[in-house]
C-alpha cells in the first residue's frame, strides 16, 4: 500500500473523447499512455515519478480492461530490458524512473535497445530530479540520449504539451526505429492543469499475439557484425528519419515577434519561466506573446539543422536558454552555425549560469543582459522588476533575519523505526569508538545529518555494502558497518553487496533496514513486504535470501525500538570471533504506513466499545534539567523543547508534542543511555475492562490518601 492513494483520481483515466481532464501532470501522463494504445508499462518508483507508478498501481483494473500489462520492475535495468518486447513486435511500451540515477542503472539495457533499434514505439519517461527539491547528484539525462542515440523530448510544462509529447513520442520512435526519452522536470510532474481527453485505445497487436507468434531477426541483436551495422544505421537512417518527422509534425515550436533580428532558443521545459521573464521586462505578456521571436525545442536531441538555420537567418544574435551542464545544445548550435557560415552571435552560458536550476530570477538577469547588449531601446521607459533592482537596500530588520533562519533538512518521521537503529549505533560508538559506516539510498540516509552524523559515503541504491568492499584486510580486527534498506536489498544489494561479501570473504557487518516498504519513494510494496497485495507476491524473507547466498552469521531483530537489544547485537556483530560476513536484519514497519493502517482501526474498535490503549510519552518538566541529551540521541520531530516553567532555570526543557505516536524510543533511549528519569509513558485506556476498573477502585483511594499527606506537608509553602 503506497503512501498516497489515487483510487479516486484514477477514475479520470476513463474520460472519453472531448471531455476535460483536470489533475496532476503525472496523472495526465498515464492517461496519455492509454490514449496512445500502450501495450505494457514498467518502471521503478522514485521522486518525482513515484506517483506515476502509484497511479498505475491503483489503475490495475482499467489497465486490465485495456489489455495493458503493468510491472513494478525489480530495478530500472529490469524496466529498460522490458522494452525488448518492442524490438521485434509492433508493441508500444513505456517505462519510467527517476533520472539520472535510474538512467544510470538502466543504461546497459538502454544501450543494447538503442543499438538494435525498435519496431514498436518505446517511451522512456524520466523524472529529471534536478534543481530545488532534488535528492541526487546534479547531472543531465541529455548525455544518455546523446551517447546511445535516443531522441530526447522536453515538452513545455503544461498538460496539453506533455500529453502531445507522449502521443508523438511513440510515433517518432516508430518512424525512426529509435527509443525516445521524455524528460519531465520535478515541477512539471506535480503541476496541476487541464487538457481535452481522447478515448483510451486498446492495442490491435497484443502481447498474446506476440507470444503466440514468436519472431526473431538476428540483425536486431547486438553481436558483430550486426552491432557495426547498427551504428551506421543510427547515423544514416534513424537520425535523418527522426529529423524529418520532427519537422513534418512541427514538434518544435516557433513564436514570432516584431524584434526579428533577435531570437531566443529554449528547451520546452524552460518555456513558462522565459515567458514570465519576458513579461516582467515588458517584452511579452501572460499569453505567451513575445516581442523577441522564440524557438522552443520540445525535442532537445537531436537538433534539426534546417530549423536552426531558418530561425537564425537574418538574426544578429541568439540567446540559448539551456538548463544544466555541460552546454550540449549550445556546443551543437555553434557547430551548425559554423558549418553553415551563419554569423548570428550565439549567447547562452556566458549570460546565464553554467550550472544549477534556471530560476525565474536568473533567467531575468540573463535576458536583461542580452537585451541591453543588442536592443537597449526596447527597455526604455520600462521599470525593472524587483528581482533585478539593486538600488533598493534591504531594511536592517530584514537583513537580520538571515541568521535566524536555520536549514530544515528532511529527517526521520515521528516514530520512525529506523531512528532507534541509529540511536543504538550512537551508543555503540560511545563504547567501541567510531567505525567506518558505508551508507545506501533510502530514508536511512538521513542518519548522515544531525543529530546522528553517522555515515561516510553512499555510492548508490543497494550499493551500501559494496561501498565497503575495499575494507577487507586481516591487518586489523576492527570491522566496518554497512547499511542497506529493504528496497536497495532487492534492487541489487543481494548480489552486489551480500553475494560479493560472501564470495570475497568480507568480515564486515551489514545492517539491512527492513521496514516492509520502499519507504523513501512513497511506501510501495516489495518482495519482503508483509502486506497482502492483490497484484503482487509479497512476504518473501530477506533472512532466507541472505542465507541462500551463503551468509552464516544472520540475526533478525523484529522490534528495532529495543535500543538496548539493538546496541548489544551490533556490539556482538562487531566483536564476535566468527569470521566472515555478518548480517543484521532490523525489522519494524514504516510508521507512516503503520499509522495509516492502525489509526482508523483503533477508532473503529473504540467506537464498538472495545478496550483500546493509546500510548503517549511525556517529559516531567520539573525533573527535566534542560540538557537535551535525550534529543541528541533521537532527533524525533515530536521530541522538542519549550520555555522552562521554572523561574530559576533559563534553559528550555524537553517536551513531547501531540504528534507523538508512542513508539517508545524516548523511554528506551533513556534506559539504554542511562539518561534521566523525566520520561514517562501514559497508557490511556478507552472502554476499560472490568478488571481495569476493579484495580482502579482498590488503588485510587490509597493513592489519594497518601497524596493528601504529601499535600499537607507542602501546604503553606506556596499560596
Amino acid at each position: 500500500m503506497s503512501e498516497r492513494s489515487f483510487k479516486k483520481e484514477v477514475e479520470k483515466l476513463r474520460l472519453a473523447e472531448g471531455e476535460e481532464f483536470r489533475g496532476e501532470g503525472i496523472l495526465a501522463v498515464t492517461k496519455a499512455l492509454l490514449e496512445s494504445g500502450v501495450s505494457y508499462v514498467g518502471g521503478y518508483q522514485g521522486a518525482p515519478i513515484s506517483h506515476l507508478m502509484d497511479v498505475l498501481t491503483d489503475a490495475a483494473d482499467i489497465l486490465k480492461s485495456l489489455g495493458v500489462h503493468f510491472e513494478h520492475s525489480a530495478s530500472e535495468a529490469t524496466a529498460a530490458a522490458t522494452l525488448a518486447a518492442s524490438v521485434h513486435y509492433p508493441l508500444r511500451g513505456a517505462i519510467t524512473f527517476k533520472s539520472t540515477v535510474g538512467t544510470n542503472v538502466a543504461s546497459d539495457a538502454l544501450a543494447n535497445l538503442a543499438s538494435g533499434g525498435v519496431t514498436g514505439g518505446c517511451l522512456i519517461i524520466v523524472g529529471e530530479d534536478y534543481g530545488e527539491g532534488s535528492s541526487i547528484m546534479q547531472e543531465r539525462s541529455h548525455a544518455f540520449a546523446m551517447k546511445s542515440q535516443m531522441w530526447l523530448l522536453d515538452p513545455r510544462p503544461n498538460l496539453p504539451s506533455i500529453v502531445r509529447a507522449i502521443e508523438e513520442g511513440f510515433a517518432l520512435s516508430e518512424a525512426s526505429n529509435t527509443p525516445v526519452m521524455l524528460e519531465l522536470r520535478i515541477r512539471a510532474c506535480h503541476v496541476y492543469g487541464r487538457f481535452t481527453a481522447k478515448d483510451n485505445v486498446r492495442p490491435q497487436f497484443t502481447l498474446k499475439d506476440a507470444i503466440e507468434n514468436p519472431v526473431r531477426d538476428v540483425s536486431r541483436i547486438v553481436l558483430p557484425p550486426a552491432s557495426f551495422l547498427h551504428e551506421q544505421e543510427k547515423v544514416r537512417k534513424r537520425w535523418p528519419a527522426a529529423q524529418q518527422y520532427i519537422q513534418e509534425r512541427e514538434l518544435n515550436e516557433f513564436f514570432t515577434g516584431d524584434v526579428e533580428d533577435l531570437g531566443i532558443l529554449l528547451q520546452g521545459g524552460m518555456y513558462n519561466t522565459v515567458v514570465r521573464a519576458l513579461e516582467l521586462l515588458g517584452l511579452g505578456d501572460v499569453f505567451g506573446n513575445s516581442r523577441i521571436p522564440l524557438y522552443v525545442l520540445n525535442v532537445t536531441y537531436p537538433l534539426v539543422d534546417d530549423e536552426v538555420k531558418r530561425f537564425c537567418a537574418g538574426k544578429r544574435a541568439l540567446l540559448v536558454v539551456e538548463e544544466g551542464q555541460p552546454d550540449f545544445i549550445e556546443q551543437n548550435l555553434n557547430a551548425i552555425l559554423r558549418r553553415a557560415e551563419i554569423q548570428t552571435k550565439l549567447h547562452g552560458k556566458d549570460m546565464l549560469p553554467m550550472g544549477g536550476e534556471y530560476t525565474a530570477a536568473l533567467v531575468l538577469k540573463g535576458l536583461l543582459e542580452f537585451v541591453r547588449k543588442y536592443a537597449p531601446e526596447l527597455m526604455e521607459g520600462h521599470a525593472l522588476p524587483t528581482a533585478l533592482r539593486t538600488d533598493t537596500a534591504k531594511p536592517l530588520a530584514v537583513r537580520n533575519v538571515e541568521s535566524e533562519v536555520h536549514a530544515r533538512p528532511p529527517s526521520f518521521c515521528t516514530g520512525c523505526p529506523e531512528r532507534p537503529i541509529f540511536s543504538a549505533m550512537k551508543l555503540v560508538e560511545r563504547e567501541l569508538g567510531p567505525h567506518h559506516v558505508s551508507c545506501d539510498i533510502g530514508c536511512h540516509l538521513f542518519s548522515i545529518l544531525p543529530p546522528f552524523n553517522i555515515g561516510a559515503t553512499t555510492m548508490g541504491y543497494g550499493l551500501g555494502w559494496a561501498g565497503a568492499a575495499a575494507f577487507n584486510t586481516n591487518e586489523t580486527q576492527k570491522r566496518t558497518i554497512s547499511i542497506m534498506g529493504d528496497g536497495g536489498f532487492w534492487h541489487n544489494g543481494l548480489t552486489s553487496g551480500v553475494g560479493n561479501a560472501v564470495f570475497n570473504k568480507n568480515d564486515g557487518v551489514l545492517v539491512v533496514i527492513d521496514n516492509a516498504y520502499t519507504a523513501a519513494t512513497g511506501g510501495q510494496d516489495i518482495l519482503s513486504s508483509q502486506a497482502d497485495n492483490r497484484i503482487r507476491t509479497t512476504k518473501i524473507s530477506i533472512a532466507d535470501a541472505v542465507r541462500g547466498v551463503g551468509v552464516k552469521w544472520v540475526r533478525t531483530v523484529t522490534r528495532t525500538y529495543d535500543v538496548a537489544g539493538m546496541r548489544d547485537l551490533l556490539k556482538e556483530a562487531l566483536t564476535t570471533k566468527q569470521k566472515g560476513p555478518k548480517v543484521i536484519i532490523a525489522q519494524s514497519e514504516c510508521t507512516l504506513n503503520r499509522q495509516r493502517r492502525v489509526k482508523p482501526l483503533m477508532k473503529k474498535l473504540a467506537q464498538q466499545g472495545k478496550r483500546v490503549v493509546r500510548e503517549r510519552f511525556g517529559v516531567d518538566s520539573d525533573t527535566c534539567t534542560g540538557d537535551h541529551s535525550c534529543i541528541r540521541l533521537s532527533g524525533c520531530p515530536s521530541l522538542s523543547i519549550k520555555p522552562n516553567p521554572d523561574p530559576l532555570r533559563k534553559d528550555p526543557v524537553a517536551t513531547v508534542l501531540d504528534s507523538c505516536v508512542g513508539c517508545g524510543l524516548c523511554g528506551e533511549v533513556a534506559h539504554a543511555a542511562v539518561l534521566c528519569p523525566s520520561f514517562f509513558r501514559a497508557d490511556v485506556i478507552t472502554n476499560p475492562s472490568s478488571w481495569d476498573r476493579v484495580k482502579a477502585r482498590v488503588t485510587q483511594p490509597i493513592i489519594s490518601f497518601l497524596q493528601r499527606r504529601i499535600d499537607s506537608r507542602l501546604s503553606g509553602i506556596a499560596a
Binding site: T256, A360, A673, L706
Partner: protein, 514 residues
C-alpha cells in the same frame, strides 16, 4: 506542443486582470498541499484558471517545502482568445500572498525575497517548530522570535499573524484549515468566504473539523484579538505561602528588589525540597555575596541575583529522593492526565522509565553506610545485579506508588547522606570564591556565579557537567588578576555548553595565553 503551434505575428498585450500568485511555505506533513488544492478549487469554481505545483520529494519527510499557486481570470483569456502561461515557481518581488505555517518558515520566505513591501500580504503562524540545532543545543540556542517578527513587519506590505497551530488544534483540525480561514478573512483574494468554505466541503476529508478551524482562523483575523499569544513565560511574582512569610519579609527587607523574584522562588523551592530551615539556611549563605555586591557592584545586583539562582538550583540537586517526591504528587498526576488529553471516562496508567545506578542509591544513604557499601565488593556486586538495567515503574499501581512514596520519605535523612556531604563541600568552595573575587574583579565574580549552569542532567550527563565545572573553577585561579579574566571564563563556559564531551573545553584551555 499545445494548440497554438505557429502563432501569427504576436502583438504584446498588457491584460488588465493580472496573475494572482500565492506561495505556501510549510513543512512535510503540515497539509501545505491540501491548502494549495483548496485554493485551486476555489479559483476554478470562481471562473479562474488555476495552476499549482511543488517540489516535495524527500522534503515530505519533515523538511521545508514551497507550494506555489497562480490564478488568472478566464474572462481575460476569452477576451484574448488565448490560454494564459502560468509560472511554476515564485519570482522574488512578484508574489501577492505568502502563507507560512510557522514563524521560521516566514523568515525563510523573507530570506528568499518572496515577501516585498510594495505587494506581499504575509500570513504566518507565530508558533515555533524548533529546528534540529535549536533542539539539540546543550543550553539554549533558540532563535530570536522578536527578530523574526520585526523582519516580517518590515518586509511585508501587510503582516497577519496568529497562533494558527493552536487555533487548529483547539478545533481538532490541522493548520492548513486555520490558515485557509485567515487567508479568506484578509480579503486579499477576489472570493467570498462562502466560496472558500465550499472548497473545503468539496474536499470531503474531515470537513466538519476543517470548517471549524477555518471559522476560528477567519475570526482571529476579522475580529480584534483579546491580548492572547504570550510568547514569554517570565514570572512577575511568586505566590508565597504563610509558612514562608517570615523569609519573604526577610528577602524584601534585606535583599535588593531586582533579586526578589529569584530569591522568593528559591526559598519556596528549598522548602519544597527539604524544609523551612533549609530555606533559611539558603538565605544565610547568600548574605556575604549580597554585601559584596552592594559594595563592589554596579548597582544592577546581577551578582546576588545569579548567585541566588544557581545556589538554589544546586542546593536542590536532583537525587532519587527528589525525583520520587516529584513523581508521586497529586498535581503531577493531574498534569499528566491533561497533557495526554485523557477524557473523563478514560483510565490512565503512568509508567516511569527509571534506571537506578549504584551511585544513585549510595547517594541517598547515610554517608558512613554508603562508604562501607562502596568498599565491600560482594555487597556492591549484589546491588549492581539489581541496578544493571533500566526499570519501568508503574506509579499509578499500588506497588509502584508505595515504592516511590517510601523513597521520597527518605528526605528526612538527606542531610546525612553521602551526596549531600559532597555537594555541600563543592557549593562552599564555589560560594566562597565569589565575594573575594567581587572585591578584585566584579565581572569575573559574575561569570563564576553563573558557572553552575553547567551542572545539570543525571548520570553521565551530570558527571560531564560537573567535570567541566571543576575544570573552569581550576582555570579561575589561573586567570584571576588578568584584565580579560571575565571574558575568558565566559568563553570557557560557552565552549563547555557547546560540547558535553569537554574536548572543546580542553582545547580552549590550552589556547589561553599564559
Amino acid at each position: 506542443m499545445a494548440s497554438n503551434l505557429t502563432a501569427g505575428r504576436a502583438s504584446v498585450t498588457t491584460p488588465t486582470g493580472k496573475v494572482i500568485s500565492i506561495a505556501i511555505l510549510a513543512m512535510g506533513g503540515e497539509g501545505g498541499g491540501v491548502l494549495a488544492d483548496w485554493l485551486v478549487d476555489v479559483a476554478e469554481n470562481a471562473g479562474y484558471y488555476a495552476q499549482t505545483t511543488s517540489v516535495p520529494g524527500v522534503a515530505q519527510r519533515t523538511g521545508a517545502t514551497i507550494y506555489y499557486v497562480e490564478m488568472f481570470p478566464e474572462s481575460e483569456a476569452q477576451r484574448a482568445g488565448k490560454e494564459p502561461v502560468l509560472g511554476l515557481m515564485p519570482v522574488p518581488g512578484e508574489v501577492d500572498v505568502v502563507v507560512a505555517s510557522e514563524l521560521m518558515e516566514a523568515g525563510r520566505a523573507i530570506q528568499r525575497g518572496l515577501v516585498s513591501p510594495d505587494r506581499t500580504l504575509l500570513i504566518a503562524s507565530e508558533h515555533r517548530v524548533y529546528s534540529m540545532s535549536e533542539r539539540t543545543a546543550v543550553a539554549d540556542e533558540r532563535v530570536d522570535t522578536e527578530k523574526l517578527l520585526e523582519a516580517a513587519n518590515a518586509a511585508a506590505k501587510r503582516f497577519v499573524r496568529g497562533d494558527f497551530a493552536r487555533i487548529a488544534e483547539e478545533k481538532g483540525s490541522v493548520i492548513s484549515a486555520s490558515l485557509f480561514g485567515a487567508l479568506a478573512a484578509t480579503g486579499a483574494l477576489p472570493f467570498e468566504r462562502r466560496q472558500f468554505e465550499e472548497a473545503v466541503r468539496r474536499g470531503g476529508v474531515g470537513v466538519e473539523s476543517s470548517l471549524a478551524a477555518f471559522a476560528a482562523g477567519y475570526a482571529s483575523v476579522s475580529e480584534p484579538r483579546a491580548g492572547q499569544n504570550k510568547t514569554n513565560t517570565d514570572q512577575t511574582s511568586v505566590a508565597i505561602g504563610p509558612r514562608l512569610r517570615e523569609l519573604a519579609t526577610r528577602i524584601r527587607r534585606d535583599f535588593p528588589t531586582v533579586s526578589h523574584i529569584v530569591l522568593l522562588a528559591a526559598v519556596q523551592r528549598a522548602a519544597d525540597y527539604q524544609d523551612e530551615a533549609y530555606a533559611a539556611k539558603y538565605l544565610d549563605l547568600l548574605e556575604r555575596v549580597r554585601d559584596a555586591d552592594a559594595q563592589f557592584g554596579d548597582g544592577n545586583f546581577a551578582l546576588i541575583t545569579e548567585t541566588g539562582r544557581y545556589l538554589a538550583l544546586w542546593m536542590t540537586y536532583e537525587d532519587a529522593v527528589r525525583v520520587a517526591d516529584l513523581k508521586i504528587r497529586r498535581t503531577r498526576f493531574e498534569r499528566v492526565r491533561q497533557e495526554v488529553k485523557a477524557g473523563p471516562n478514560q483510565l490512565i496508567e503512568i509508567n516511569e522509565f527509571l534506571h537506578p545506578s549504584l551511585d544513585e542509591i549510595t547517594d541517598i544513604l547515610p554517608a558512613r553506610f554508603s562508604r562501607f557499601l562502596l568498599n565491600t565488593k560482594p555487597l556492591r556486586r549484589l546491588i549492581e545485579r539489581f541496578t544493571g538495567k533500566g526499570r519501568v515503574i508503574k506509579t499509578s499501581s499500588l506497588t509502584g506508588f508505595l515504592l516511590l512514596y517510601g523513597l521520597a520519605g527518605m528526605r528526612r535523612w538527606r542531610r546525612g547522606s553521602l551526596r549531600f556531604e559532597g555537594e555541600y563541600k563543592a557549593i562552599h568552595r564555589w560560594l566562597q570564591m565569589i565575594p573575594s573575587l567581587a572585591a578584585e574583579n566584579y565581572a569575573l565574580a559574575l561569570e563564576v556565579a553563573e558557572c553552575p549552569r553547567l551542572i545539570k542532567g543525571y548520570g553521565e550527563t551530570h558527571a560531564n557537567g560537573m567535570r567541566n565545572f571543576n575544570v573552569i573553577m581550576g582555570a579561575v585561579s589561573r586567570v584571576r588578576g588578568r584584565q580579560d579574566a571575565a571574558a575568558i571564563i565566559r568563553k570557557l563556559r560557552e565552549v563547555a555548553l557547546a560540547d558535553e564531551s569537554g574536548k572543546k573545553l580542553d582545547r580552549a584551555l590550552q589556547e589561553i595565553s599564559p
